[in-house]
Symmetry: C2
Subunit: 232 residues, 2 copies
């Protein structure tokens, strides 16, 4: 199924984004009268008939609509240190969206070697992955902030830090079952530093382990999504 993304809706008429309109008309060669499936990124899932097929503007008359399509009973927020190799971060983002995640934050830690991340590129990956895996919700992605500033923010629900230092850590899969809203911090290559771990503790983050394996940063982030999907 080819799923399109709606820019906005006015009076039962939905408009594709310009980029999608071009793809729809130029590449997929859709014509007036064709029936398409589309979503609004906020849980709205629609079918509609193409009434204007212009490479710059596609308008659809809405035939059916569902709201809260695929709404999950949990809110998972993964805050992850960007990997040195951007492919690995992009891969994490794609897989997290496929498996299920509500929010992704990028955190700059002491051992993070990357100080700039182009959020627009990750937003494109999110959109492509959501369309590919037929999701009506687009996860939120937040730009890179310093860990110490991130920790100052208020968060509801369970707050966890997955670090590797030998410590008395709880099992993420047991802990995550306790709340419907959960935030997990995933460290960089080389792990969080001890002062970072301590400042997370001071902000009431609970140390957790993601299982017996030592996982790479991007694998740990994706695995947290898988655990949440399996457990909840």
């Amino acid at each position: 199924m080819q799923l399109f993304f709606i820019a906005h809706i006015t009076d039962n008429i939905a408009y594709l984004t310009e980029e999608e309109a071009t793809h729809c008309v130029r590449v997929l060669r859709h014509k007036v009268g064709d029936e398409l499936t589309f979503m609004d990124g906020k849980g709205g899932f629609y079918t509609g008939k193409l009434i204007q097929a212009d490479p710059k503007k596609c308008a659809l008359s809405i035939l059916t609509s569902k709201q809260a399509y695929g709404l999950r009973s949990q809110h998972l927020h993964v805050a992850i240190a960007p990997t040195k190799n951007m492919d690995r971060l992009e891969w994490f983002v794609e897989k997290a969206v496929e498996i299920g995640v509500e929010e992704i934050s990028l955190i700059a830690t002491n051992r993070t070697e990357r100080s700039v991340v182009k959020i627009e590129r990750l937003e494109k990956i999110i959109l492509a992955a959501a369309k590919q895996s037929v999701k009506a919700y687009l996860p939120v992605i937040n730009p890179l902030v310093k860990l110490k500033d991130f920790l100052k923010q208020d968060f509801d629900g369970g707050k966890f830090i997955a670090h590797l230092a030998d410590d008395h850590r709880k099992s993420f899969q047991e802990e995550i079952a306790k709340a419907d809203k959960n935030l997990i911090l995933i460290g960089p290559e080389g792990d969080f530093t001890l002062p970072e771990i301590e400042s997370a503790f001071a902000s009431h983050f609970v140390p957790v382990t993601l299982g017996a394996s030592r996982l790479r940063t991007e694998t740990a982030g994706m695995y947290a999504c898988a655990v949440a999907s399996v457990v909840k």
Copy 2:
């Protein structure tokens, strides 16, 4: 931790593979007397002192040894159709090893667009991922065979097929808990064909779903490993 791979052991002396010996001496600049950690790919996990440091041959006097290091209480076998884009298959192999898998088979299905897969390259990825995630067991990888030939083989334990056709499918995470040895078939882009699904049924494979999301081939394979790791 830098983990090395042993080619063979004779009388308490372990020898690195030639490739690792070169890396050990030329890149990491280890010298006689250095203490290294290494594994044999069959569950043996060792420390040893370097007694010969030659780029073609490194010999280590074994100091400590553990057997069945990290042995899992389950045997997970993922049989997967190679993706059109090799990066995605390689990515699956890397992540499966990190998360945990005992055996990987490559199956050629009707909709598989790739007829040749270089197994040596995947073996290198397996070794690198096992070393990176500190594993003493190297998963087995089997060369590409036709699905119909694969289905003729005998397998113990649970046998599952993850297909997308709308069907009465069971939950993989519930089914996998029932046996310690499990095999799951993961289809190609575009899914298994109906005759393929029926021939799997005839070979007593049970249809399963991997959850609410529509996953790409490589994500489905990796997710099956994650489910097995969480559930068992």
